[in-house]
């Protein structure tokens, strides 16, 4: 059923607009957002693989009647293979990634609905708008379409930050917005250069033109467009020098908000990264540049995480550092490494959502996130603490959880591609991640409780336990049976290169 | 000939806007450079875009800026 493909974008955006109009009507907002959030993960499951051309504008070569009526320089030339309208492609990667994205989105929305007594339609608007926009980015085959939804995703991310009750949220939002307003037009200029060379913004067309030698891939204009688009990419995903602002963004939002923010970032990372790989992978230095920035991101973030004392900042830095692994996989550039990177991205989406929601309970109960003031919380909520511990193990790559499988694949691919030093760095960083995680776990849960720490006696909401539990089950299942997703990913990557 | 004059006015308007100490004047000058870009779009064979840009760049953005300045402070003290 190919008609379902555009619905994955249309349903969240329509729901967002209706929710915004509903505004303060509490029960209506709750019901509608719950229903839409539970329907969303089903759509990628029942939809078939295939393409969707908006307005029926398929490439001319698929349309025999029209083609024969056109002049010969169109019907015989490469123009006949070009995509006229916006096209969405829905394959194995999109199916799996969107399913898990919508699951994380559902859990974030579900916990938000249950945590708050009054829920505003505007907040739900932002969450659904973010989900819809990154879905469009992942599905789209059109780099300008991706840019538009990237801007929308930035605005909804800023809105999600602003709806928390942190003191510094406006400052962080302002910085993120200023950087975003610089990064967005720069990305647009890069797309403009590509458009000037090729005459189309469709990624498939651009790769076709390059592969057939119609344009010179070493021309300065092409290299310049790479620079500009790459800048937009590192801004959007928080590789250095933007890792501090990105982790600040995570730490300012509410726990379920940050879980969603990180999920959005991972999907933006993967969709732009794949676009860059498809367009520019034949340039000699592209892989090295991606590897350099990813390595810098991993190492800088993990060092910052070691010296921070704020719980949410530490998790934010760990999350940004984990993004570096995906970048490394893209940078090595073999089939195996890209598959491993996609798997790592999927795992990260799930694990960081688990950690953000799980550690959010601490903030809720104690109203502080400074690890020097915390301690002994394992008596108060043992269930959550065990689940968070397992989530942290998954992030650091302890077998048999899913983080272990993807990191093992990444290390194997680095060794096979003759980059043993990268494999060593990956192992080292993952050891340091483990150490940092154990440090914060000890500080928050195990060490004796400080006398001046007041813990609210209210129960942890069942919805939070449910959310963390579901995410943990996904972690374990993916860790035990990685072939569920890896096969689809490797088929997708095989078609890509 | 007219396009070069329009470009010059647009660039000068943007530089002058940033050099103003009175922020309200800066907002109005932003409108001038936005309007110049709209005229340039017309010259560059894009009349439909020129209409949108004339409304957004020459009217809506300066009004937004002026509203924000009205709610905050008018003089750029710390320059």
């Amino acid at each position: 059923m190919n008609e379902l493909i555009p619905l994955m974008v249309i349903i969240p955006i329509t729901a967002a607009i209706i929710l915004n109009a509903l505004g303060g009507k509490n029960s209506a907002v709750k019901t509608l957002s719950f229903v839409v959030a539970i329907v969303l993960p089903l759509i990628p499951i029942i939809s078939n693989y295939g393409f969707h051309y908006f307005g029926g504008h398929s490439p001319l070569i698929d349309n025999g009647n029209l083609l024969s009526s056109l002049p010969s320089f169109i019907s015989n030339g490469s123009l006949s293979t070009f995509h006229i309208g916006i096209s969405y492609s829905f394959e194995g990667l999109q199916k799996i990634l969107l399913f898990f994205l919508f699951i994380v989105g559902f859990l974030a929305i579900f916990t938000t609905i249950n945590e708050r007594k009054r829920i505003s339609g505007q907040y739900m608007f932002l969450m659904f708008m973010g989900l819809g926009s990154v879905t469009a980015m992942l599905l789209s085959d059109d780099i300008f379409h991706m840019y538009i939804f990237f801007e929308i995703a930035i605005i909804s991310q800023v809105g999600i930050i602003l709806s928390s009750n942190d003191e510094q949220k406006y400052e962080t939002a302002m910085k993120y917005m200023i950087l975003g307003s610089i990064g967005g037009p720069i990305l647009l200029t890069g797309i403009g250069f590509l458009l000037a060379l090729v005459g189309s913004v469709n990624i498939t067309d651009i790769t076709y033109v390059i592969k057939n030698g119609i344009i010179d891939p070493y021309s300065p204009v092409f290299l310049f467009s790479f620079g500009l688009i790459f800048f937009g990419w590192i801004y959007s995903v928080g590789l250095p020098p933007f890792h501090t602002i990105k982790s600040a963004v995570y730490s300012k939002a509410t726990p379920s908000g940050s879980a969603l923010l990180q999920a959005l970032s991972v999907v933006i990372f993967i969709s732009f990264g794949l676009a860059i790989l498809r367009i520019y992978s034949h340039l000699p230095f592209v892989h090295e540049v991606i590897i350099f920035f990813s390595l810098a991101g991993m190492i800088l973030s993990i060092t910052m995480a070691l010296i921070e004392t704020d719980l949410r900042r530490i998790i934010g830095f760990l999350a940004v550092g984990e993004l570096g692994y995906i970048g490394l996989g893209f940078g090595i550039g073999t089939n195996l490494s890209i598959t491993a990177a996609l798997f790592q991205g999927l795992n990260e989406l799930i694990i960081t959502a688990l950690l953000f929601i799980g550690f959010g309970v601490i903030l809720q109960l104690t109203k502080t996130s400074d690890i020097t003031k915390l301690g002994g919380l394992i008596e108060d909520n043992p269930k959550i603490s065990i689940m968070v511990l397992l989530g942290g193990f998954a992030m650091a790559g302890v077998p048999p959880l899913n983080g272990f499988q993807s990191k093992l694949m990444l290390i194997q691919s680095a060794l096979k591609a003759n980059f043993p030093e990268l494999a060593i760095i990956m192992i080292l960083v993952s050891i340091v991640t483990f150490m940092t995680f154990i440090k914060i776990f000890h500080a928050a849960y195990l060490k004796p409780k400080p006398n001046n720490l007041t813990v609210e006696k209210s129960l942890v909401p069942r919805s939070t336990i449910f959310a963390v539990g579901v995410l943990l089950i996904i972690c374990i299942v993916l860790g035990l049976i990685p072939d569920l997703v890896v096969k689809e990913f490797s088929v997708f990557v095989g078609g890509l290169i | 000939m007219i396009e070069y004059i329009v470009m010059l006015i647009g660039i000068l308007g943007s530089i002058l806007a940033l050099a103003q100490r009175d922020l309200l004047k800066a907002a109005i000058l932003t409108g001038i450079s936005g309007g110049c870009i709209a005229i340039l779009f017309q010259i560059l064979l894009a009349p439909d875009v020129a209409l949108t840009q004339a409304i957004v760049g020459a009217a809506i953005l300066p009004v937004f800026l002026a509203l924000a300045i009205y709610k905050t402070q008018r003089v750029d003290k710390d320059d």
Binding site: I178, G192 | L23, I37, T52
Partner: protein
């Protein structure tokens, strides 16, 4: 006399540079935001300039034109469609940024970026 397209390219480049200068080096937040709007407008102008064709016509197909002549003489309409979207997006981001700036002014009583954004631990 240089041709119109080159002059417009230079113009868009100078808009982007002026905007970047303002967004990075000026201290007042409102001026930073004005700079951001200049970057946005420069990028739009760049895209429109790509579509320009010297001595061409507006890309509207009127009855009586032959398709071959139209294809040889009209400007390229794709960037026009892209820029329309981009202008609206730019206005939206600007409005959100201005709204945040107003809240920050209420909180700090100043529009100076170094006072508002500088001294908190980033």
């Amino acid at each position: 006399m240089i041709d119109t397209q080159l002059a417009a390219l230079l113009c868009s480049g100078s808009f982007i540079l002026i905007g970047l200068y303002a967004a990075i080096f000026l201290d007042n937040i409102i001026k930073k935001i004005i700079g951001l709007s200049f970057i946005e407008e420069g990028a739009n102008l760049f895209l429109i300039t790509l579509a320009y064709k010297a001595d061409g016509i507006v890309p509207i197909f009127l009855p009586g034109m032959s398709p071959d002549w139209f294809m040889a003489n009209s400007a390229y309409p794709l960037p026009h469609a892209l820029v329309l979207t981009s202008i609206v997006i730019g206005a939206c981001t600007l409005a959100v940024t201005l709204a945040i700036a107003m809240v920050l002014y209420k909180k700090h009583g100043s529009l100076s970026a170094s006072k508002i954004l500088g001294d908190n631990h980033e």
